[in-house]
């Protein structure tokens, strides 16, 4: 078993979406959230990974093999849920299951039926009659019905109600149980998946700004609420972004432990992934509300 499900090494892409020297890896047996604002390059990164889009430079491996080799053995171990509806309108879930059963050697028809039942999807209903949420669920049912070792999900929770979101995340946690499986999940609303993920990679304008274990990233950052005067005294090397409002300043600081040692009177609050995403989006600019 390889240590990493996939590995981006200085991947660059200039056309049809862009990536700049993107480097990050998904350790086997973990769930990674790929977060970033709209247009940050999340979908481009996923499409590059699953060989839908080509890239210009760098190295990209999946299960230790170059993704550009179009290795069917690698694809057999991969499941993808795209952010768009990939199926033809006139098909129904049963027909999609039939098509995929002939393509994946490890396809489990019984499990597929169970997922259809679980998600309340009628096998004979045409896909054009599905809502967006139902299509997402069907994609997930397909993705979980063969023995994939890597599950790549592009915005799987968009268009879903809170109960469905939780249900889907529970299905993903169940999928992770054997221990040799990995998940990459993209979102621009990290709060939905924050409690489920082990690792986080944040993309901004096609570049990786943060990557690593979620807990360590959270520990290293803090959100400070202070007066404008206090904010102006903080060493710039600690500041990721600063936001002023009528009540004072909000500062996202990095190297939290060092910061507290240097400024004992200023204690930053713990951060959430949403906070990180908001403040990293404001980076290099001081915002006044």
């Amino acid at each position: 078993m390889s240590d990493y499900a996939f590995c981006f090494r200085n991947v660059n892409k200039r056309h049809h979406g862009f990536l700049r020297d993107v480097s990050f890896a998904l350790p086997t047996g973990t769930i990674m959230a790929l977060v970033g604002p709209n247009g940050a390059g999340k979908t481009t990164a996923i499409r590059t990974l699953v060989e839908i889009a080509d890239f210009d430079g760098g190295e990209l491996t999946m299960f230790d093999r170059d993704v550009r080799e179009n290795d069917t053995e690698v694809k057999e171990r991969l499941s993808v849920v795209l952010d768009e509806i990939p199926y033809g309108d006139s098909y129904n879930a049963a027909q999609i299951g039939y098509i995929l059963s002939g393509l994946y050697s490890s396809w489990d028809g019984e499990r597929f039926q169970q997922y259809l039942q679980h998600f309340h999807l009628i096998p004979t209903q045409k896909i054009k009659e599905y809502s967006k949420g139902m299509t997402q669920k069907l994609q997930l049912a397909c993705a979980l019905s063969h023995d994939a070792k890597l599950l790549v999900l592009d915005e799987p929770l968009s268009n879903l109600d809170p109960a469905s979101k939780e249900d889907i995340m529970n299905c993903i946690m169940q999928y992770m149980q054997p221990g040799d499986r990995s998940v990459l999940i993209t979102t621009n609303t990290p709060a939905d998946i924050e409690s489920y993920v082990d690792c986080v990679t944040m993309l901004m304008s096609g570049s990786v700004v943060l990557t690593g274990e979620r807990d360590r990233i959270m520990e290293r950052h803090g959100l400070l609420h202070c007066s404008d005067e206090d904010a102006s005294k903080i060493d710039k090397s600690y500041i990721v972004a600063l936001r002023r409002n009528r009540y004072g300043s909000e500062v996202l600081v990095k190297n939290r432990a060092d910061f507290i040692a240097q400024y004992p009177s200023l204690v930053p609050d713990p951060v959430t992934l949403d906070t990180l995403l908001i403040f990293y989006s404001l980076r290099d600019s001081e915002v006044t509300l």
Binding site: E73, V80, E84, I85, P86, Y87, I99, S101, L103, Y104
Partner: protein, 264 residues
């Protein structure tokens, strides 16, 4: 393999665009070509009556009777005059609908297919099978429409000629299309407005060129007679069909090689 061919969405394309395409095609045909067609039919009827070579096939229903009757170049062109605009127009509308209208849907499906564990060889084979199935359905549809129009407007005997010409024309269009696709493989892999127009033009212009070529060499023509004296007409026609089928088979092989190269 069977599943992958199904996955390529030929069913969807047929379901979603074929019916619409046929309806719009017939509507346009009626509005645009019917007045001229009726005029042509009158001329043809007068001409046939004048020559006194009214088709014997009126009395016999068998399709192969066409091979034995005195099929003149004028007959062929009159028949092609009905079928060619119909075929070209339907092909154009077909391409427009299957490429532009359903573009979004198929771009998603095509992207998804690339994530599946399918070998390059299988992808190429399935693409060709899918293409052939669409062609078969289009041929049958166009032939049926053309024949029906001819039957209603003129009669059964002439309808058989039209059926014959429709099949021949479809094969001509496909021969041309196959050859172009074989050399410009990316056209069948991409679905956008520009390629839809290009493919429609290619089908239209190519079919006309091939029709004239076949017309020139068709049995009964001077250029052909010199080389085929004493050869029964049915054998001559079989030879022409064999050449067209050979073009298709050759194009198919070449296309497969190019497709595989492209996928790799």
């Amino acid at each position: 393999m069977k599943q992958y061919i199904r996955s390529l969405g030929y069913r969807d394309r047929l379901d979603n665009s074929y019916k619409t395409r046929i309806c719009i095609g017939v509507l346009l045909f009626c509005l645009w070509f019917l007045p001229g067609l009726i005029e042509n039919i009158r001329d043809y009827a007068n001409y046939s009556a004048y020559l006194g070579d009214s088709p014997d096939v009126e009395s016999g229903f068998a399709f192969f009777a066409v091979f034995d009757m005195n099929l003149r170049l004028d007959d062929i062109f009159t028949a092609l005059g009905i079928t060619l605009p119909c075929v070209t127009m339907l092909a154009g509308i077909c391409m427009y609908y299957s490429t532009v209208v359903s573009q979004g849907k198929f771009s998603g499906w095509n992207r998804y297919l690339r994530t599946l564990p399918v070998t390059v060889d299988m992808r190429a084979k399935a693409m060709l099978w899918s293409r052939s199935i669409i062609f078969l359905f289009c041929t049958l549809g166009v032939s049926a429409v053309s024949t029906a129009i001819a039957w209603i407007t003129i009669g059964r005997g002439f309808a058989l000629k039209v059926l014959f010409a429709a099949l021949l024309t479809s094969l001509l269009v496909e021969s041309c299309d196959m050859l172009v696709d074989a050399f410009v493989t990316r056209w069948i892999l991409r679905y956008d407005r520009k390629n839809a127009i290009a493919i429609s033009l290619e089908g239209g212009i190519g079919s006309l060129l091939l029709a004239y070529t076949v017309g020139w060499f068709s049995p009964g023509q001077l250029s052909w007679e010199g080389y085929a004296d004493g050869v029964p007409k049915s054998i001559q026609w079989i030879f022409i069909f064999a050449v067209l089928i050979a073009i298709n088979v050759g194009g198919y092989k070449l296309l497969k090689v190019n497709l595989k190269r492209q996928y790799e």
